[in-house]
């Protein structure tokens, strides 16, 4: 790794001020599981590294009346292990569990996973279907954004110079909502998603008709994406009324996968449709992860 100037701000304000001053010549260090890897491979050689380790006030999982809030420096392992979260919003714990290994999850942070903004970011689809919002702090104060608007492109998020992601808020899903995250890839662990699908459905108890649907896909577009056409198609229908080819076509129209080392665009098109159908089937048959 190339040498760098090392900074350890003691407050959020100090971190923002450093970011403003140093701009593109600096990188933020949270868990290090993305940054350090790229620096070691020579893909990144920042002149300055701003280590957020002293900002432990950003490391929390808080249960509120309206939902859960997470500090940006919450370790993914904490999300996997949080008993309250596993019960009330299980899709987040199960999404986190698909990332890396125990060792990685003990270091990696929620903020890092989101700000690294890989199109395949595994925390994103689950958070998108739950309408998560993010809090951003900068030299001029704080602002909120939907997570959907936060993602701008591969590796790009809506953070202006000097700004820092500090918190993610997830409202409780509606009563009776079932959700899950399916991650497809060649290995059962230690791999990026080739396609990721999160789905959250609320069914009418007696008819098992879909009252509301939220679907988000990862690794098949420049950013993780909500699939509104698919959601509209599902709403008001029972499982038997959903045409598989129809749904598949809607999924495929809503994504723009690329070919890369992990799979071809055509493969991803195929798998995205299959995985979405699988998720919908699973949830409408009464399973939940």
């Amino acid at each position: 790794m190339k040498k760098f100037q090392y900074h350890e701000p003691k407050t959020i304000a100090e971190a923002c001020s450093l970011l403003s001053e140093l701009g593109d010549s600096a990188r933020l260090l949270a868990g290090g599981t993305d940054l350090i890897v790229r620096m070691k491979k020579g893909l990144l050689a920042p002149e300055h590294v701003i280590d957020l380790k002293l900002l432990q006030e950003l490391n929390y999982i808080q249960e509120t009346e309206a939902g859960y809030t997470f500090g940006a420096l919450t370790h993914l392992a904490s999300i996997v292990e949080h008993t309250g979260l596993k019960e009330r919003i299980p899709v987040l714990a199960s999404s986190a569990a698909t990332i890396g290994s125990s060792q990685i999850r003990n270091l990696a942070t929620l903020g890092g996973n989101l700000c690294n903004a890989a199109p395949s970011a595994d925390m994103a689809p689950g958070l998108l279907v739950l309408a998560a919002t993010v809090k951003i702090v900068g030299p001029h104060g704080s602002r909120n954004s939907t997570l959907e608007d936060f993602f701008c492109g591969p590796g790009e998020v809506d953070l202006a110079r000097g700004e820092l992601l500090t918190e993610v808020t997830v409202p409780y899903p509606a009563v009776g909502c079932r959700s899950l995250y399916l991650k497809h890839g060649p290995r059962k662990a230690m791999d990026c998603a080739v396609v990721g699908v999160a789905a959250a459905l609320v069914l009418e108890e007696s008819t098992r008709c879909c009252k509301s649907a939220r679907i988000a896909l990862g690794a098949v577009a420049p950013t993780p994406v909500r699939m509104r056409e698919v959601e509209n198609h599902l709403e008001g229908k029972r499982l038997a009324e959903i045409s598989h080819p129809g749904l598949a076509r809607l999924v495929q129209m809503g994504i723009e996968p690329i070919s890369d080392v992990r799979g071809s665009a055509a493969y991803r098109q195929e798998v995205a449709a299959v995985l979405t159908l699988r998720a919908v089937n699973s949830l409408m048959n009464g399973k939940e992860r």
């Binding site: 790794m1 190339k2 040498k3 760098f4 100037q5 090392y6 350890e8 260090l29 290090g32 599981t33 350090i36 890897v37 070691k40 491979k41 590294v49 280590d51 380790k53 392992a77 569990a97 890396g100 290994s101 125990s102 060792q103 990685i104 003990n106 270091l107 059962k188 662990a189 230690m190």
Partner: protein, 160 residues
């Protein structure tokens, strides 16, 4: 420019000067001379550099030395007590879970982190928790058995 850091290593206080870009793995092996922790990939994929940081398994190759200030680090050299092997070390040896031995320190520490938190894991849980430790020699079967055997000992089910 070097900076002075202090932390606890295998229950002993340690202080040294480090460059900010040095990783924990580098200082463990080079500055502190503890070569039980191995460098396999240097990218957090193989787990052979696994150490315990405040009891949790982490990849030392991805942690800057600056990041363990004031914390407790445990390496493979630190888990035997009073000259007696830790039950995991003993079971790995007895059950043939070690061939070339390169992955073993990382495996044992990951397993220790698991058993300290979850004394009765299922095989599925063991395999899930150990997913970040690769072995090219054994095919993992003996490693899983050794972890199960050590878990039994640690639970006190057997006389030891």
């Amino acid at each position: 420019m070097k900076r002075k850091i202090s932390f606890r290593l295998n229950d002993q206080p340690v202080s040294l000067e480090v460059e900010p870009h040095w990783t924990l793995l580098r200082i463990i092996r080079q500055e502190l001379g503890l070569t039980g922790t191995k460098e396999g990939c240097g990218e957090g994929e193989c787990g052979s550099c696994t150490v315990l940081l405040e009891g949790k398994a982490v990849n030392a190759c991805l942690i800057l030395a600056m990041n363990v200030v004031g914390k407790a680090v445990t390496t493979i050299e630190g888990i035997a007590k009073n000259g007696q092997l830790h039950p995991l070390q003993a079971s790995f040896v007895e059950l043939g879970a070690i061939q070339c031995g390169f992955c073993s320190p990382g495996m044992i520490l990951s397993a220790k982190a698991l058993l300290d938190r979850q004394p009765s894991p299922t095989e599925e849980q063991i395999r899930f928790e150990m997913a970040g430790n690769l072995c090219r020699c054994t095919g993992y079967a003996k490693i899983v058995e050794a972890i199960q055997a050590a878990a039994e000992v640690m639970r006190g089910d057997r006389d030891e």
